[in-house]
Amino acid sequence: MTEATATERTLVLEAHEISKRFGEREALKRVSLEAARGELVAIIGPNGAGKTTLLSILAGIQRADGGSVSRPPGEIGWVPQQAAVYSKLTVAENLRLFARLEKRPDVEETVERMLAQTGLEQRRDDPVSQLSGGNKQRVNIAIGLLSAPDVLLLDEPSAALDPRQRERLWEFIRELAARGTTVIYSTHNVHEVERHAGQVVVLADGELLFAGTPRELEQIAGAPDLDFEEAFVAFLRQRGH
């Protein structure tokens, strides 16, 4: 990331030298991260790279062994990989429950706003168990957005969705970012990074290998003839992973 770009951006989240150890294994090695308002930040890397651990620490679910995060977990929205919603309750009931638990001042207004934002007004009284995977994920994300956080963390949001559902989901996420919400997400789908990320963070074995735009990653990989996925794999090879 260039110095000029960083100064133009309004940073809403800064993680500084985050470390985490599980026994002998070092899951995160002094990883730092910056995200600006309305930015879409993708965290990618091979299995076991530390993507979920980093998101969990940013969300306050796990405690870091070292380092700092500029925002408290309460100001950050978090959406787990699998829909964390009650399948026996309806869409509206799920939203209402979490709005109450979040102590939103006007619960019903919040519910209506989220139903409108997710485009689920017609399904408001349907039990979540009857929704498609894509719509479940929308409810899942809507719950993460109930407190209108400046930063939203998404752990592999499009996993297990078919291409059509995936496209509708990304449309929704892009709208969020356009309204100023910073979205940080982890993914294995490198094409989603190329298409939807303003910034890409590459982790491998707990180590931060790269932070910049997808185009910069392609350039660093030095493989202009390759597509983004091939460039990413080449980059990992160059770095010994």
């Binding site: 009650y86 026996k88 309750l89 638990l101």
Partner: protein
């Protein structure tokens, strides 16, 4: 927390099959257990002391010799006798739970039977801490004494018939070594008839009339003796029962306490373990504990909900039982206290199960696997197993909430023993299982 509570109630409302099973299953199990507890072990261990000296074990009735020890052998075919040397040793064994009860045959038993003027007593000791056991000992001893009585009754009946025959026909009788001649009603009638026919008016045939008077007196004396014999015919031997420990809860009332405890246990365990595990299966646990609800708060909510539902089911069950069995509604506050403490104890165990297993199916399975042995172990009467094993069972039972809940409910419903100690026991178990549940949440997600 109240929103979580409402959410769980909503989920329950939308699972009618689950709720129906939760209510019906424990009732069926409670009925089965209630039926089962009316039957004790096949051959109960009973301390036995025969103080009758061997030389006096033969009873002579009406010229027939009866060996009382033969009746003892019949009793031994139905109980597992534990020979003791003294009455105190027998009492100690009952107190320690080594035997279900004690049967003491006093030294003067044969003398009293021989005299035939009233019932002879045997002494029975039993521990009434457990009404199931108490009822079982009572029934067993009663049955054995009844068998002995039936056999002796045949002999006494023969005696009674002989006396009646003597009174009717006359003859000789030996009482206390002296031989008496009895005229008999038939001869007396003949004499009186003859005297009446042969006597002129106002002729005092004093001698014959004196004979008649003597007969009348002797006949009266014989009839007096027959009264005692006839009294003894019904119950020649009586069991003089003494309770060593515990109250006098009738078995029916105790069965009510068991049925309610079983229902409380099943509903609370299954619900508490299931709804906690469900939070993980729905992936909502991390979302909740990420600042919305504390882990401890979540556990309290699950325990409270499960206990609340189980208490409602238990109260409905008690109301139903009250249609058939008399219950003291004046003690309702104590019922409620016992149910609340029991519910929380089971609730804490339930959330510990849910926290450890982390899956609804595994939680339900473990809850079932724990619940049934927990109930049955708590109902094993002392004396049904060896003393060492019984002590192990007591310790294991004390580690789970079934036994103290049963004791608390038995006290609340039936005025049996103090309620304070079981409540304290339950409070300790609630805290202990609560801590286990809280620790289990560290690796719950």
């Amino acid at each position: 927390m109240r929103w979580l509570l409402l959410k769980d109630l909503q989920i329950l409302r939308r699972s009618p099959l689950l709720v129906a099973l939760l209510v019906l299953y424990p009732i069926v199990i409670a009925v089965l257990i209630g039926f089962a507890i009316s039957r004790g072990p096949e051959k109960p261990r009973v301390a036995f002391l025969n103080e009758v000296p061997p030389s006096a074990s033969v009873l002579e009735l009406n010229g027939q010799k009866i060996d009382v020890s033969q009746y003892g052998k019949e009793i031994f075919s139905r109980i597992d006798p534990v020979p003791v040397q003294s009455e105190q040793e027998a009492i100690d064994k009952v107190k320690s739970g080594d035997v279900l009860g004690a049967l003491i045959i006093p030294a003067d038993l044969t003398q009293k039977l021989q005299a035939g003027t009233g019932p002879a007593n045997v002494r029975v000791y039993y521990n009434a801490e457990d009404p199931v056991k108490a009822r079982f000992v009572q029934d067993t001893i009663k049955s054995e004494v009844q068998d002995a009585n039936t056999a002796l009754t045949k002999q006494f009946t023969k005696i009674a018939l002989n006396y009646l025959d003597l009174i009717s026909k006359g003859g000789n009788i030996s009482i206390f070594g002296k031989s008496f001649s009895v005229l008999g009603l038939a001869k007396a009638e003949a004499i009186v008839n003859a005297a009446q026919a042969g006597l002129p008016p106002n002729d005092p045939l004093r001698a014959q009339l004196g004979q008649v008077a003597n007969f009348a007196r002797l006949a009266r004396d014989n009839l007096d003796l027959s009264n005692g014999v006839l009294a003894a015919v019904g119950t020649p031997i009586r069991a003089d029962a003494k309770i060593i420990n515990g109250g006098t809860t009738p078995l029916d009332a105790f069965a009510v306490a068991i049925a309610v405890t079983v229902s409380l246990m099943f509903v609370t365990l299954l619900l508490a373990s299931g709804i906690l595990a469900l939070e993980r299966e729905e992936n909502a646990f991390l979302r909740l504990v990420r600042g919305l609800v504390s882990r401890t708060g979540l556990l309290i909510e699950k325990m409270g909900l499960a206990a609340l539902c189980a208490i409602v089911v238990s109260l409905v069950m008690l109301a139903g039982i009250a249609l058939f069995v008399s219950l003291e509604w004046g003690r309702f506050p104590l019922w409620l206290v016992a149910l609340v403490f029991g519910g929380l104890g089971f609730g804490a165990l339930g959330v510990a199960i849910g926290g450890i297993t982390r899956e609804v199916r595994a939680a339900s399975l473990l809850a079932f696997m724990l619940a049934l042995p927990m109930a049955f172990l708590a109902l094993v009467p002392s004396g049904a197993v060896s003393s060492g094993l019984y002590n192990v069972i007591k310790v294991v039972s004390a580690l789970f909430p079934f036994k103290p809940t049963l004791d608390a409910l038995n006290s609340a419903l039936n005025r049996s023993g103090s309620i304070g100690l079981p409540l304290l026991h339950l409070a300790i178990l609630t805290v202990a299982f609560g801590v286990i549940a809280r620790l289990s949440l560290r690796r719950f997600a």
